[in-house]
């Protein structure tokens, strides 16, 4: 295990960025999101949750697929290049890493999404343990350990020092490339273990960590789908896309054409199942009420997805929707509403 003093981190970042792009939490106008490191970037690695999850690094909010260029009557098509350079995403939390695994299930199974796959292959994830988890966190519910993130490299911040532990070959390779800036610490393992202990103690106290997912699985489809509870739950929903856009696992996208005047750019961009024009077709919309759209989002995360993916939920308990929903709606309230419903029935 290696270590580096927090105040020297810019040396590490500079070193990484010498040979590749480095994504990490950057503060801009008071908000922290993942962005590309530059010398004058306002890096903030103390942040627990960035506003948007780091899924952009692998599945950007919008990306070009190809470009058509029209010259007189001739049309030529130019496909977008797949990612060919390595890059590093630094500081991802355990929940967000799990989020990427959820995306893997979607984009890496047949038919494989080549754009996503290229990014996954070239991306090295440096994870970071959560120092001070918050009341909105509930990752443990999904079996995620915030104290011990699993990625190419795992890091911990302990008393002003960052501890660095490569876990995979990619991680080893990155470590080799940058290890000049590190020091070694023989007592590191012990310190990390103590830190994990400390973090676990905090998570014990968090209100959402003991949420029960009992009854949420593929078998409960009809019962959950037809429940009258949805009618109550959806009402304050504004039909905005905040929850889906901050979510590390939401993977829906739309494909659109942009007329550039001399051709067309085909691009894809995130879409939200909360939007009224989501999956709009010529005949209209499959889900034509907000209740249906609202239900879809949670049924997908908690019922359909696990049913198709060996029980893996497509929620990772990051709590971003809990923090960001304009009307204070969120997945926890949904889960709890059904808990109560079950209780009443029994």
């Amino acid at each position: 295990m290696y270590k580096i003093a927090k105040e020297n981190l810019s040396a590490l970042f500079r070193k990484i960025a010498e040979s590749q792009e480095l994504y990490l939490p950057i503060e801009n106008c008071g908000q922290v999101n993942y962005g590309v490191w530059t010398e004058d970037a306002n890096v903030n690695i103390d942040i627990l949750k960035t506003v948007k999850s780091p899924k952009d690094a692998f599945f950007p909010q919008s990306e070009n697929l190809y470009t058509c260029v029209k010259e007189d009557k001739k049309i030529s098509i130019k496909a977008e290049q797949l990612k060919e350079q390595d890059f590093v995403v630094f500081g991802m939390k355990a929940c967000d890493i799990q989020g990427v695994e959820v995306l893997d299930k979607v984009f890496l199974s047949e038919p494989v999404d080549s754009f996503y796959k290229a990014r996954r292959e070239h991306g090295v994830i440096v994870a970071m343990a959560c120092g001070e988890p918050e009341e909105t966190c509930f990752c443990k519910v999904f079996g995620i350990d915030p104290a011990d993130p699993k990625a190419d490299v795992a890091t911990w911040i302990i008393d002003g020092e960052l501890f660095w532990k490569p876990l995979t070959d990619k991680g080893e390779a990155l470590t080799d490339a940058v290890k000049d800036v590190f020091a070694e610490d023989s007592s590191a393992d012990a310190k990390v273990e103590a830190k994990k202990e400390e973090i676990n103690k905090i998570t014990e106290q968090l209100p959402y960590m003991k949420l029960s997912l009992e009854g949420w699985n593929g078998d409960s489809l009809d019962e959950k789908f037809n429940s009258p509870v949805w009618e109550e739950l959806y009402k304050p929903c504004l039909a905005c896309g905040t929850c889906t856009f901050v979510c590390p696992t939401c993977q829906c996208y739309d494909i659109k054409d942009y007329d550039t005047g001399h051709g067309v750019q085909r691009y894809r961009c995130w879409d939200s199942c909360m939007y009224s024009d989501f999956t709009m077709m010529a005949h209209g919309n499959n889900r034509n009420s907000q209740m249906q759209r609202y239900r879809q989002r949670f049924m997908h995360k908690l019922v359909y997805f696990p049913a198709n993916n060996d029980g893996m939920y497509s929620c990772v308990g990051c709590g971003r929707c809990v923090e960001k929903c304009p009307q204070s709606l969120n997945i926890v309230k949904v889960i709890k509403a059904f808990e109560n419903q079950g209780g009443e029935k029994a």
Binding site: Y258, T260, G261, Q265
Partner: protein
């Protein structure tokens, strides 16, 4: 900066002209052979009040360097009141563009009557000159339209 000094820059300028006054004013400029730069392309609309701020932003998005709106003089609108609404709307739009740091000289409203061929021509000459002095529009365009 004079036009000659900046020869390679050919600005794209969209002029929205109301059918009843300004379009006719432009026709008169034409029949009087009052030249103005070919950079100006006119779009005929029934009235200045038909011009949606979105049209103007769209022009900039797609690469226009200047947009000018011409209508009947206030009080002379063919539809009585159209240009009054246009006047307020454009004042609002321009103030917002200015507020957001987009050079306000790129947009302009001018009232040109059907009899004012000379005014149409001088206005267009002035406007094109202004756009030349401002140079290429880089703050409002969509990069995708550049290449």
């Amino acid at each position: 900066m004079s036009i000659e000094a900046n020869e390679e820059f050919k600005p794209k300028i969209v002029a929205f002209c109301c059918n009843w006054c300004s379009y006719a004013g432009a026709d008169l400029a034409g029949s009087s052979r009052l030249a103005y730069p070919a950079d100006v392309k006119i779009i005929r609309v029934p009235c200045s009040c038909r011009v949606n701020p979105m049209f103007i932003l769209r022009a900039f998005e797609k690469g226009a360097d200047g947009v000018i709106l011409c209508g009947c003089h206030p009080g002379d609108c063919h539809y009585s009141t159209g240009n009054f609404y246009a006047r307020r709307r454009m004042t609002m739009l321009f103030s917002m563009l200015d507020y957001m740091g987009v050079e306000n000289g790129r947009t302009r409203v001018e009232w040109v009557s059907a009899a004012e061929g000379v005014k149409f021509s001088t206005t267009m000459n002035e406007f094109v000159q202004k756009i030349h002095s401002l140079g290429k529009n880089v703050r409002l365009g969509d990069l995708r339209c550049r290449n």
